[in-house]
Symmetry: C2
Subunit: 302 residues, 2 copies
Amino acid sequence: MSASVAKSDLLNAAVREVGIAIDKAFDSLLPVPDDARARLYEAMRHAAIGGGKRMRPMLVKATADLFNVAAESAVRVGLAVECIHVYSLVHDDLPAMDNDDLRRGKPTVHKAFDEATAILAGDCLHDLAFEVLIDPRTHADPFVRCELVRALAVSSGPAGMAGGQMMDLEAEKSGFDLPTVTRLQQLKTGALIGFCVEAGAILGRIPPEGRTSLHGYARDIGLAFQIADDLLDVEGDAHLAGKALGKDAAAGKETFVSLLGVERAREQARMLVDQAKAHLHGFGAEADLLRAIADYVVERDR
Amino acid sequence: MSASVAKSDLLNAAVREVGIAIDKAFDSLLPVPDDARARLYEAMRHAAIGGGKRMRPMLVKATADLFNVAAESAVRVGLAVECIHVYSLVHDDLPAMDNDDLRRGKPTVHKAFDEATAILAGDCLHDLAFEVLIDPRTHADPFVRCELVRALAVSSGPAGMAGGQMMDLEAEKSGFDLPTVTRLQQLKTGALIGFCVEAGAILGRIPPEGRTSLHGYARDIGLAFQIADDLLDVEGDAHLAGKALGKDAAAGKETFVSLLGVERAREQARMLVDQAKAHLHGFGAEADLLRAIADYVVERDR
């Protein structure tokens, strides 16, 4: 068996395992109540269960595994970050934002339910993230839980994901240059990816000065991920992607692909992935899942 | 000077003090950045600064004062709960929800900016609440910060405020009876008011079994507050209220007033306030601000 087959087996096994664990956790966290809130919980379940590759929970798990963190801790932190990711998709898909009808191959929440329910379901998943993190089952030490909450709040708010989304809205109005698009994406997708890797280190009680190489890894795969997304937006298969494509060009937004061209963008993504893996040189086989995720980020077709 | 004048002086002084502290804190937390996120921060400032009576931060302060909690801790927790309250107003005012043009005498955020910015500004204030709570300046002990985050996440999510808002949306479709309207309001406004009082006790390191009378106080003023709101919706002055009135009746929603009639609703609110104050019998003059807030809840004209 070649090394690359072994690595993709490792990835596939982790995708399966994490996917099942996250779906199971959402299912048990969100029982539909027998009252007028039923519709809200159904909308949260529609958004949260059975979707996506769970790349962010995978990153938490892969980093936590470097430091022998208990599996339950990693799953719960992965669940929290997925709550944030899913809430942001629900809000970003709204008519006032990106106005998307399809997400992960299903109708978006405001299509399957209605806009008001989608706004509330997003808000509730947002709360759920912090409720999950702060629970003692996530980690026995309140210092660790505090550090996780702080890191998640910062990386998802105006200095992170939501700030990046605001820049993305502004991008339709003004032609951004490469540094600005880079900054936008570092906030919009990079900050939360950075949290995942940071969270693994926090759970492993690695002090901030010991996290530099992991930060470098996260920064590089975050950008590579976005370049790959831009390439898929131009060249991808909407059916496989489970969402509408070609939207950035239609909206007149600058992307890595519009600014660099397809070939240079592809090269840049490849280079970033190599660089991401180079940051892991201090780790042995225990970092193979992180390496496999880095490769997956640019090789994926959805 | 009569006792009631003294009590309203106490209230007015606290309203001024808390109002200034909260505005100052928002101002320093939200400097407008010199990049494409400027509009987001401006929208957050528009929503958060200079509005309302800050009743929730007042409740945190009034309860914290019972237990000699440091002023900075009480202000920061008040700021966090106000972040949640303001974010919920911004989202509830959206066209897909209550579709309001006016809030606290100013255009709502989606009117002054646009819908997408309003959704994001709400999301960011939501994050800010947790970022403020988890900061060591809120309390040195991470156990206390964890307890605050847990309580805020639960009281603002589907088992609290947002769940109540969902019930409120459903109320337009089906005629709710009195127990269901009561439950709706206990979630929609009661849960966050309960958090404020709970937070004062958490900061004061009062164990859960010592919080019973405060829970009773919060439950009663929460309902009294909502009944007074329903009365203002029918009888109030839209100019003083700084928002549109008469909307519940127009939407065909059952309220305390539609179910009880004006006179019985007013009696009920008065009775709840008396009951709320009776819960404070174990406290002396140090609970006068809580007593004054209880009176204010039903006497206010906005």
